[in-house]
């Protein structure tokens, strides 16, 4: 009886020993693999703050005059190898979060046209159209397109204005559909309008929230590399 118990115990211990040894080997190997991957794939911190890699914009955009919305991904446009000295003329990104029903965004439509006319050849501008979850804000794609193209549609500016009466020119840059505000949440944007300027390599260079009071044009003049005339 005692022998049988001892034998069973021996068997159990033996099984445990092999399993434990295998466990140590696999755990050691797995730890090494995970550490190596994490250490050797240099993924920057992703976030909307200056110095961080801008979060991706993945969804659909509408360009001026287009009949349909097309797929877009910000990271497809980013050049991770960009260097300001060797390629100063590369286009930076200006991302504006806006809501067609937000009065401040309504007023900013004109200044945005000014930025485009002054810096259009140095910037890829993208307006991320959101629909804030507050009363009288109920944008849809039709309203976004009307706002962008300055076309006649009653409903902009909290439903009080015809979209064609906003200031500025028709906006000849992409409008990104974030009406469900998922991208806005990812970026941690608290309100509209909100502007972020991004370097060609995707690094956030200027965040409106971190530069209260500074004009966007002034920031662009300060930051954009000087391009020598040919």
């Amino acid at each position: 009886m005692n022998n049988a118990r001892r034998n069973r115990s021996f068997l159990t211990d033996e099984d445990g020993s092999a399993a434990t040894t295998a466990g140590f080997v696999i755990a050691g190997g797995l730890t090494f693999i995970l550490l190596a991957v994490v250490l050797f794939t240099d993924v920057p911190i992703i976030g909307p703050n200056e110095g961080e890699m801008a979060p991706n914009l993945e969804g659909q955009i509408h360009t001026l005059g287009a009949e349909s919305w097309t797929n877009f991904e910000l990271y497809d446009e980013v050049d991770g190898t960009w260097d300001a000295e060797s390629n100063p003329e590369a286009k930076w990104f200006l991302i504006q979060f806006m809501d067609t029903d937000c009065p401040h965004c309504w007023n900013e439509a004109g200044p945005m046209s000014d930025i485009e006319s002054n810096f259009g050849d140095r910037l890829t501008m993208i307006s991320v159209a959101v629909s804030l979850n507050i009363p009288s804000h109920d944008s849809d794609r039709e309203e976004v397109v009307a706002f962008q193209e300055k076309a006649s549609l009653m409903g902009c500016n909290s439903g009080n204005s015809d979209c064609s009466t906003r200031s500025g020119e028709p906006h000849d840059w992409a409008y990104f559909d974030d009406l469900d505000v998922t991208i806005m949440d990812t970026w941690g944007v608290q309100g509209t309008p909100f502007i972020v300027i991004i370097k060609p390599d995707g690094e956030v260079a200027w965040n409106q929230g971190q530069n209260q009071g500074q004009e966007i044009m002034e920031a662009l003049v300060e930051m954009l590399p000087v391009v020598e005339a040919a």
Binding site: T12, V25, I26, V43, N56, E73, Y75
Partner: protein
Amino acid sequence: MILSTTVVLVISGLTILFGALSRTEALRPLFSTLGLGSLVDEPISRRMIAGALGGILGGILSAVWVWVIQRQEIIGSTSLCIPGSGCVAALSQGSSNNLPFTGLEFGLFFILLFSILGWIALTLHLDPKASNALRLLSWGRILSGAGTAVAVWMTIIHLAFVDDSPAICPVCLVLLVANIVTFAQFHLLYTSHSNGSWNDK
């Protein structure tokens, strides 16, 4: 193709091939070359366990590569695929290369899965007479079957659902083969051990 990726493909391909052919008589002498001389005269099942470990090693290697490429693609570019290749098209869309509901990247999922399978195979290799061998083999078969299903799903996504589909990603295909080979090994081992003893041939 990028050199390091080619090297990984060759190494993982060879280890998986070793796993797939481990039960054949022709490969018996190779075990002594690999420092596993004690297995040369062992039954087929013992060599298949070592072969399964080989297939699992190949699977882990290709899974690590897939995960590294996925991590690099977070910022829109990878140094491990030729720009514009199927490898980039298949793995660049983070939203398509995750496990449903969990968000776990395919590469990381397969690393974890093959680690568990590796633990099972190594336990059986170290102690083939373990009293719970059949249960371990059963779990190995279930997990590798699940892994194969996920790998097939990943391949379908690459062939049909990503932008620029069909996208052929060589490392992902090697990963699929590793899953199939591992599943086949565990299935055959389970079948041969179902009477409680290893195949004596």
